[in-house]
Amino acid sequence: MTIRSVLVANRGEIAVRIIKAAKALGIRTVQVHSAADSEMLAVKLADEAINIGSPAPKKSYLNIEAIVSAARLAGVDAVHPGYGFLSENGDFADAVEAAGMIFIGPSGEAIRLLGDKVAARAIAARAGVPTVPGSDGRVADIGAAEVVAERTGFPVMIKAAAGGGGRGIRIVQSLAELREQFPLASAEAAAAFGDGGLYMEKVIPRARHIEVQIFGDGQNYVHCFERECSLQRRRQKVWEEAQAFLLPDNVRQRLCASAVALAAEVGYRGAGTVEYLYDEDGRQFYFIEVNTRIQVEHPVTEMTTGIDLVQEMFKVAGGAALSLSQSDIRVHGHAIECRINAEDPAKSFLPAPGTVTRLSIPEGDGIRFDTMLYAGYTVPPFYDSLLGKLIVWAEDRNACLDRLAAALSKLTIEGLPTTIPLHLALARDPSVRKGTFHTRFLESWLETDFSTVDGTSAEVA
């Protein structure tokens, strides 16, 4: 079945991105929105818009019944969930299918299986993908946790089985700390995710976060190579690159092949990402988790492979076989994405919504800006602070960094603070230039190097 109309069950820049991909394929678009989002760009661009509820996400973008009703009312063939909100909710995928529509993503069953971090670890192990040393599944109690910790050594991470996106993680340094934190972590996991289950993983120090973009149609599986996402703040990515810098070719081949093996193990359908930690010293990679959706950082893969991943999602969900074979997928040049957030770097990244009084977007070869902004738009306070993503491509990494710095200097968003000064400082930083960073790099860099870059705002203004 070919998809002729789609309901976009998300907001912000990804809703805009989905609408543009749908329009390119001649698909009619219906955008849902909360009462706080009637002026958002995706609403203006879509063929039709439906108000599904009040600003609180649980009353609108997380309300399965409201979204499925809107999709029925609009008479669409399919629903695209974007990222975040209900994108990795197996029950939502099932509800869409039960209502006779196509869910643009994997089956509800696959989402649940891979969303359970413990089950996903077991699947990875079955597919021959190395996992971080830790517990075999859930840890029943503190006694079992002590046994695991003695085997892996400290520091060790306690993680919520139902967690994700960096949430529900605690690092403990000793047996005493483990005894103290274990019950707290369980209570917190129960409160946050409705599941107090915990598992444990050894901490891999100074690791890089590398992930592989996969694609499947349930029969055939390919990878679109890897991304480097080690620059993180509070376990949230702020800057992503394709390909991973300094990754030896033989490691890259094994890494990408392992992600495809995992996709095949579960008969994966649609776009997904397999995330790994990479220990540079030991040249060893370890599976962390699978994201069963399109990701924020997908454009760097698009810029280096020339594949439109969102259009491909529509085609595969519509029943078409994968149009790509592995030998068709090649990488050209280097791409970097900066997440531009409505946060004030000078005030501990305090989120600061407001009205965009002036907007000037750089244009030119190798520059792309995926955004939800327009001049005069008021960014609401109820959702995350991502305003847009500046993605820059060039022949090699050094040229890409130069072009990125130039593009960031020309990107003007007035009326509210943004993280542009942070990215400009990173683009010029010698360690970032050399590529010698890991997942803990940015937080210590912010305390030392960035705090000494006084007047970064003035520099950009």
């Binding site: 919504p353 306070p381 959702y383």
Partner: protein, 80 residues
Amino acid sequence: MSKLEIRSPLPGTFYRASSPDTPPFKTEGDIVTATDTIGLIEVMKTFQQIPAGLDGKNITFLVENEEPVMAGQIIAEVDP
């Protein structure tokens, strides 16, 4: 006797307790001191504590729990 106003420093969603299972920071009629937390504002998925910022008594809330607020909006009033 005019009331003293406690205004929201941020736009967002107002919460009177740190979680649905815990009692509110302040109950109607309570005494407050400047450093007391009277609620949380959720702004862009982060939670900021809101201090009373003044001393007073007999607090009255003008914003419901989980209700959206604008920056500068009066959240509560107290008697001097």
